[in-house]
């Protein structure tokens, strides 16, 4: 299963990069969202998928799923959520101020050349 997951993760990364290279700001943020999904799944996969029980202590169970990657992912989910929320509001504000979401129109001012 880990090998299948490696390909899925590669696919997610590919889609994320393709979206990030497009010119719409909203699509770029969607791309970052997919990128973080890919990273989270990568963390989980690299920890191994062989555990047969959730990491909650219960009598008689010995083969838990690895809890450490899960803790790391939980932290990463929250942080990426915070950053995504911030980016979204930033994008929303830039729509209001600049009246565009086209990245090609958001170049640095010519005055600085």
């Amino acid at each position: 299963m880990e090998i299948v997951m490696c390909f899925v993760i590669g696919f997610l990364f590919m889609a994320a990069v393709y979206l990030m290279l497009s010119k719409s700001l909203l699509r770029i943020i969607i791309g970052t969202g997919i990128l973080s999904h890919g990273a989270h799944l990568l963390l989980l996969t690299m920890g191994g998928l062989r555990g047969s029980a959730p990491p909650v202590v219960s009598p008689g169970v010995t083969n838990y799923a690895d809890p450490l990657p899960q803790a790391l992912i939980l932290t990463a989910i929250v942080i990426s959520f915070g950053v995504t929320a911030f980016f979204l509001v930033l994008a929303y504000r830039s729509y209001q101020e600049l009246e565009t979401d086209n990245m090609n129109l958001m170049r640095g001012s010519e005055d600085y050349d």
């Binding site: 299963m1 880990e2 090998i3 299948v4 899925v8 993760i9 590669g10 696919f11 997610l12 990364f13 590919m14 889609a15 990069v17 393709y18 979206l19 290279l21 497009s22 010119k23 909203l26 699509r27 943020i29 969607i30 969202g33 997919i34 999904h37 989980l44 690299m46 191994g48 998928l49 062989r50 555990g51 047969s52 959730p54 990491p55 909650v56 202590v57 838990y64 799923a65 690895d66 809890p67 450490l68 899960q70 803790a71 939980l74 932290t75 989910i77 929250v78 942080i79 915070g82 950053v83 929320a85 911030f86 979204l88 509001v89 930033l90 929303y92 101020e97 009246e99 990245m103 640095g108």
Partner: protein, 807 residues
């Protein structure tokens, strides 16, 4: 006496000069400054008997003891000669500047601070025995010279000249630093004397030639040798006292000092002899030839300085031959080093006075253009006398000290004929020939300088001011130098014994134990049979002929193509470095975020993939894999389908919904891979995120509402596929090569017994690794505060402008 502290005396005085300039307005600031060089000159004079006995004075104080860096003042004959030149000419220049620069109109505070800084730096250069402190003072001379050339900073030409000299000399200075560092590594010491002591071992080192070339680059740029002389004519925009001091007597001789000082280390090399002698001769010829093209008095003198520096340089190179035992009796090459030092002193005297005269003419007539000048002899008789003394000495006529050193120069060049090592037997004949031709041109431009200015027809209509003799104060300094020019001719051996012989001993330490061993007697008369006499006669005859026909052949200078000149080369180098690099950076700094992302992703892909294959790190292991279950494959297909939907969706709304679907599928993965906490968090957060996305979508401006697919772009697709492949390869390889087991068994065993909890993930989050959680909370807090301030703080551009205007 610890002479090392005297180096810093001018710097200390420079600290109080601005206060004196501001507070004591009635007295010209220069009078206060004058005390410094005069006092130092007096102090250094007391050392003369010491160096005549072949002794030296060393004093030091530590700068960075842990790195072995200190200021070491080592005064031997060579250092003392230069120190006396610096302070002596310095005193005369300060005296001259008191009358040259106006007390009320000029920023004298700046001028004297720069000048004193330069004086200290120069003393440091010639007295330092430590490579690093030598470099420190060397760059300080470049900087203070930059400030002095740009003294009238409101003029374009001054700024251009200052920048040009700065770039060229700093280029040389940095090369020299490289050479010094190599030298210090080779010899494992920073001390020049210790390096000289182990010179025979150094020459076998593989870096020897590199350090030689780099050190020579420093010397050639500073001493305005071919092809680096181009900064010197442009440095003539400096006030004339500066030109007289820096660009004739002292700074441009720092390179000569460097060559002389390092001769004992490098002279064993053929490259050194060829480079120093050859470049010196080329510079000598080039400078003397192009001096006649100039119409500005100071430009003529600048080219003449270039040429005379080349002369001294070539003599130093010839003097280095004396280190080789190629011929039985090599006294004749010892002669060359002597001649170099002797001419160095002579040049400082006559060139200093000539610059001061050029300044006087500029000051009293308002122009330095030789085409507008003429007939000043009767109006400015004293200046004319001094200019004539200086020019005749420069031309090498008898009764003036230039004659003596020119005779010695010709002797030195003729003696190269007898040296048959290093292919000198074949090419040696060129040396006296070029030297002779250059001497003829020197003769012509010396006459050109003095007679075009002072004889001929007086042209008052062309002059901005009515010409008259300069004030007596301005004439004192050139008069003293002019007197020296004649005095040295009549008593050359006094100077020779007191100054030149100790200096020669420092250049050729292996040959002598005491200055009195040097059996050289300067004589004006060699006898009829010596070839030097007939060469001099030839110079005078050919020179007179060329001068009389000057108007006939001078137009050939305008025939030289302008684009071939070195200045043109420098300008185009500057142009390329400014415009072309700007164009280059604009080529890749497009301003589009996409470009930068492409650079980054491509870089990541190339670096990672090539590393994987170079290190042969890729492999797949099918051991220890979890089994593939049917419903897992279904979820995988759903995930891929949702992702494809995002990529292909026409409307943004669809892609937002599809992104939500991706998030929920990921949550499903968490469920089937036994991660309940993750699944919970993922579900909640995905819901909130989708809501936020929809909010952003809703507020899209109307004008941009028209929906369209992402246009397919092959480049983007290739980059994206590359990244995907890279991630897959890295993930597969990493998973297949696990080197050690997980540490999680510790958590499983102790979670209840030590931490008192059952949910291992939650206990890790708040107990084992609680710090992560703390700062994750901080991240959320910062994000929410940031969002609030982004929404609340709305300073639009217009309001901002109004606010600034109201303030």
């Amino acid at each position: 006496m610890p002479f090392v502290y005297f180096i810093f005396l001018p710097m200390l005085v420079a600290l109080v000069i601005p206060f004196l300039f501001k507070k004591v307005r009635g007295i010209h600031t220069g009078w206060f400054v004058l005390v410094v060089p005069v006092a130092l000159f007096g102090i250094y004079t007391t050392l003369l008997p010491m160096v005549q006995d072949g002794e030296s004075n060393t004093s030091s104080f530590d700068w960075i003891p842990s790195l072995g860096i200190s200021f070491i003042s080592y005064i031997d004959g060579l250092s003392l000669l230069f120190s006396l030149l610096i302070t002596g000419i310095g005193a005369l220049v300060v005296l001259y500047s008191i009358f040259y620069l106006d007390r009320t109109r000029e920023q004298l505070g700046n001028f004297y601070v720069y000048l004193l800084l330069f004086m200290a730096a120069m003393l440091g250069v010639v007295q330092s025995d430590h490579l690093i402190s030598l470099y420190f003072f060397w760059e300080l001379t470049s900087i203070s010279s930059f400030l002095l050339i740009g003294y009238w900073y409101k003029r374009d030409r001054s700024r251009f000249g200052a920048l040009k000299s700065m770039i060229i000399t700093v280029f040389g200075g940095l090369s020299m630093l490289g050479g010094f560092v190599m030298l210090s590594i080779m010899g494992d010491t920073y001390s020049i004397r210790e390096l000289i002591a182990q010179a025979p071992d150094l020459s076998n080192h593989s870096w020897f030639i590199w350090s030689l070339v780099l050190v020579l680059l420093g010397a050639f740029t500073k001493s305005a040798q071919f092809p680096f002389y181009i900064w010197l004519p442009d440095a003539m925009e400096a006030p004339t006292p500066v030109s007289a001091y820096l660009h004739s007597a002292t700074m441009v001789k720092a390179g000569l000092y460097l060559v002389a000082r390092f001769t004992p280390i490098y002279a064993s090399s053929e490259v050194w002899i060829w480079l120093v002698t050859g470049v010196g001769l080329i510079t000598l010829f080039w400078g003397s030839f192009f001096a006649l093209k100039q119409t500005d008095l100071k430009a003529i003198l600048a080219f003449s300085t270039v040429s005379q520096l080349g002369l001294i340089m070539s003599l130093l190179g010839a003097g280095a031959i004396s280190f080789h035992s190629g011929i039985e009796d090599n006294t004749i090459f010892k002669y060359a080093a002597f001649a170099a030092i002797f001419h160095l002193v002579n040049h400082a005297t006559f060139k200093g006075s000539l610059f001061m005269i050029a300044g006087i003419i500029d000051h009293e007539t308002g122009t330095r253009d030789i085409r507008k000048l003429g007939g000043l002899m009767s109006l400015m008789p004293i200046s004319f006398t001094i200019a004539m003394i200086g020019s005749f000495s420069m031309a090498g006529l008898p009764l003036f000290n230039g004659f003596l050193s020119k005779e010695m120069f010709l002797t030195g060049m003729l003696s190269i004929l007898e040296f048959d090592l290093f292919a000198f037997g074949t090419w040696g004949i060129l040396f006296p020939v070029i030297a002779w031709i250059a001497s003829v041109f020197t003769f012509v431009y010396s006459f050109y300088f003095v007679f075009r200015t002072f004889t001929g027809k007086y042209k008052p209509e062309l002059l901005p001011k009515k010409a008259h003799e300069a004030p007596i104060g301005m004439l004192i300094s050139p008069a003293i130098l002019g007197t020296l020019v004649i005095a040295i001719f009549f008593i050359p051996n006094l100077i020779g014994d007191a100054l030149v012989k100790p200096a020669v001993m420092a250049i050729q330490p292996y040959l002598y134990t005491s200055p009195t061993d040097i059996k050289i007697n300067i004589a004006a008369w060699h006898g009829f049979l010596e070839p030097e006499l007939w060469m001099t006669v030839g110079i005078i005859v050919a020179g007179c002929l060329l001068y009389w026909t000057l108007t006939k052949w001078q137009p050939i200078y305008s025939k030289f193509p302008n684009w071939l000149s070195l200045n043109r080369l420098y300008d185009s180098l500057m142009y390329i470095s400014e415009v072309e690099t700007n164009r280059l950076s604009r080529f890749y700094m497009t301003g589009y975020m996409r470009s930068y992302l492409v650079y980054m992703f491509t870089g990541i892909v190339l670096l990672t993939i090539s590393t994987v294959f170079i290190k042969d790190a890729f492999n797949i292991s099918f051991a220890r894999l979890a089994p593939i279950r049917f419903y897992e494959l279904i979820i995988v297909l759903v995930l891929i389908a949702c992702t494809m939907t995002i990529l292909l969706a026409k409307s943004r709304l669809t892609s937002i919904i599809a992104l939500g679907a991706v998030g929920y599928t990921v949550a499903l993965f968490f469920v089937i891979f036994n991660a309940p906490d993750l699944a919970l968090t993922q579900l909640v957060i995905e819901t909130v995120s989708v809501a936020l996305f929809l909010l952003a979508f809703y507020h899209l401006p109307k004008l941009n509402r028209h929906e369209n697919r992402i246009k397919f772009r092959l480049g983007n697709a290739l980059v994206a596929i590359g990244v995907g492949v890279t991630v897959t390869i890295v993930a597969l390889s990493a998973h297949s090569q696990k080197l050690m087991p997980s540490i999680s068994s510790y958590y499983e065993e102790t979670v209840y017994t030590k931490a008192g909890g059952g949910n291992i993930v939650n206990v890790i989050l708040v107990d084992y690794r609680g710090f992560d959680t703390l700062f994750e909370i901080a991240v959320l807090a910062i994000a929410s505060l940031g969002i609030i301030s982004m929404i609340k703080l709305r300073l639009t551009k217009k309001k901002e402008v109004n606010r600034i205007e109201n303030e």
